[in-house]
Symmetry: C2
Subunit: 409 residues, 2 copies
């Protein structure tokens, strides 16, 4: 099955249940996904404020001011920062203001101090005309009551938290981090290689998939390693399906254990396995299922394959459960240093090293693309996707590169 | 002073002190910056492993195998996953292997099961020749002892943690998160707007700059609001300089208090203010100083200006203190929907809304670019920089956009 079809099949099989939400304080909301629209109840700014240091005037008083024929005004007070001015600006009058101070009643513009002179104490002369509204940040100019300032599904950034604080909003409803249960399977796996254990493989998948879950804003739950036994796998999967929102298993697809995870999934409940085997390289032996409304990803045991399959299937799944769009993976254009080829009919994920050069970004495919080589992900900071209908890309061609990690100069 | 000159002046004034480091476990290292090179002491994989299901052979035995003239071999055992095979492959013999199992001594290639037949129990026939090394992930193919796998200054990603686990590395030396002391100044500021407080401004800068510090991997320390008094500001700055690695103040640059922060900085110690006033829009009234080896950023009080100045000056500073490169801000190419103009001689930061369209990415400048409008950052998910020597960019032109936040379709 093609990647897009597999993903569509998985998402369609999910109940269209609402994301689970929780209420948290704005101070803890960085990176969280909003589960409600935020509509302002306030004016921002709450009053007309000066955006310059100068004098609040009636613009009509200085409409014909020039250097040769300046308008002269009486200074009748000062609007101090942080205080509401008592004074009102009447025709022929002005009030001194500072950046951020409240514009007094009567005034409709603020002349910058640079455009004034002080011919005598208590009087100023203005030598340029000014338009109404100039030099003022109008009440509600930034946000008016009723304005939708942030939408449901939005991932909160620093500036968003600032706005919420300005609007006096202290609590928010956000998506609960989906719990991702992670199970590794395989007799060859060990948590830590010991001397003389050369035949064992250190299980890196739980470490990597937990970290990738955290990066998505989800909460990983480590269920450990199940040996290649239907009983052990089924027992861990039952626990995981009960307590988690997504369950991920990883397993080699080697002889004898090839069908263990699918067999367990089919015993867990309906509608059983949806997809097994996806036209992608690496990660072909990926399986997708939904059991009792819970999505299950059966990923390959080879870490590089597990990571690629996680990127392709777990990320949209988490986004769906949190009620936002697919998280934006930064994609940049870069020139390929060498030609790359894929397997036709399959979507191929080529790991590359991105470098900034004088000629722009260059993507150098890593020499060994085998999924058994972990360094092909570690030495890489980008992925080039060769679509199913192309044989590859020629050297020198500009391609889209999904960035993973910092780019060196 | 130009932005680049200001930044260079700041960085040059810093002592070239080594980043402060700490030792942490790999499990907690996601996003941390390495303070040591990681050199492998191990082979990965630690043994020759099969990458397919099939039969381990001596390639010379099947060098002339064809469908018409297959080579027949005696199956003398099985290499079980997770176990070291006792059996050795002698000429004319073969051993069954599974993906991930150890390749027995004597064999130098693995024939995929698909390329074999089983004419009788205990014998297989191979009907394609095979090259030495085929089907095998060689001992040390991924990582050999002595290989530099991750360099000092690298920010750790999921796959890096996986590799460290595979190599048996459990502890790492990483950069300590720099402590960033944050002080807001201004009589107009309040922590929470109350009814009747219309002249007060809710302080959003501490919220925003704390969140931005966290995003950089730094540790924000909130010193609260100082009123416009030399005594209060100096007292908070003294505390902050003593206990933090970077100190950030924000303050309006309005009449009367314009010189308070610089005055305090000059009283704190040598070498006093380095830069005051930078040729950028917004954020012109930014000041930079280094006192007793500690960098101090005096940012404008207007939140949008404070954020832009933080991006420009705090990020390289944090990177420097953590011993890595400037954090990679994803930059994408997008077509400008409207023309934008800057102030010549100044670097201008135009906030835009990026959208994915059928024609590719489009950047729409937000209608109000005034720094007093917080929505110009909240509704934006990208920034276009107009360099000092350009008047602006025309509509329809492809420009670089620094991404901040998710991009909608």
């Amino acid at each position: 099955m093609k990647v897009d079809d597999a993903l569509r099949t998985l998402l369609q099989a999910l109940n269209s249940s609402k994301p689970r939400t929780e209420s948290i304080s704005v101070a803890r909301a960085l990176g969280r996904v909003l589960s409600e629209d935020i509509v302002s109840k306030k004016f921002l700014p709450p009053v007309d404020r000066s955006v310059v240091d100068g004098y609040a005037v009636r613009s009509s008083d200085v409409a014909s001011a020039t250097v040769a024929q300046p308008s002269t005004l009486n200074v009748v007070g000062e609007s101090r920062i942080g205080e509401v001015p008592r004074v009102e600006v009447m025709p022929g009058q002005t009030v001194a203001v500072a950046t951020g101070s409240v514009v007094p009643r009567g005034a409709d513009a603020v002349v910058m101090i640079e455009n004034t002179r002080t011919p005598e104490v208590g009087r100023i002369s203005v030598h340029v005309p000014i338009l109404p509204g100039k030099g003022i940040s109008k009440k509600g100019e930034d946000v008016a009551p009723g304005a939708l300032v942030l939408s449901k599904g939005h991932r909160l950034r620093s500036q968003d938290l600032g706005l919420l604080r300005a609007l006096g909003i202290t609590k928010l409803r956000v998506a609960k981090p989906p719990r991702i249960g992670i199970i590794s399977t395989g007799n060859e796996l060990t948590n830590l290689a010991r001397r003389g254990d050369a035949a064992k493989t250190v299980d890196v998948n739980r470490t990597v998939l937990s970290a990738m879950s955290l990066e998505l804003g989800a909460q990983p739950v480590d269920f450990g390693i199940a040996r290649d036994s239907e009983c052990e796998i089924l027992s861990l999967m039952r626990k995981a399906v009960r307590s988690c929102d997504i369950v991920i298993t990883t397993a080699g697809s080697s002889v004898g254990k090839k069908d263990l995870v699918p067999k367990c999934i089919n015993k867990l409940g309906k509608p059983e396995m949806l997809v097994h085997g996806i036209a992608m390289r690496p990660s072909l032996p990926t399986g997708l299922a939904v059991v009792n409304g819970k999505p299950i990803l059966s990923l390959p045991g080879v870490p590089v394959s597990a990571m690629i399959a996680f990127r392709v299937f777990a990320r949209p799944l988490v986004a769906r459960l949190m009620g936002n769009g697919v998280p934006a993976d930064p994609v940049v254009k870069a020139v390929l240093k060498q030609s790359i080829s894929g397997q036709e009919g399959h979507r191929t994920f080529v790991r590359v090293r991105l470098r900034r050069t004088q000629q722009g970004l260059v993507a150098e495919p890593l020499p060994i693309q085998r999924s058994s080589v972990l360094m092909s992900m570690v030495a890489a900071n980008g992925i080039v996707v060769i679509p199913e209908d192309l044989a590859g890309f020629e050297a020198g061609r500009e391609v889209d590169v999904t960035v993973m990690g910092d780019i060196e100069t």
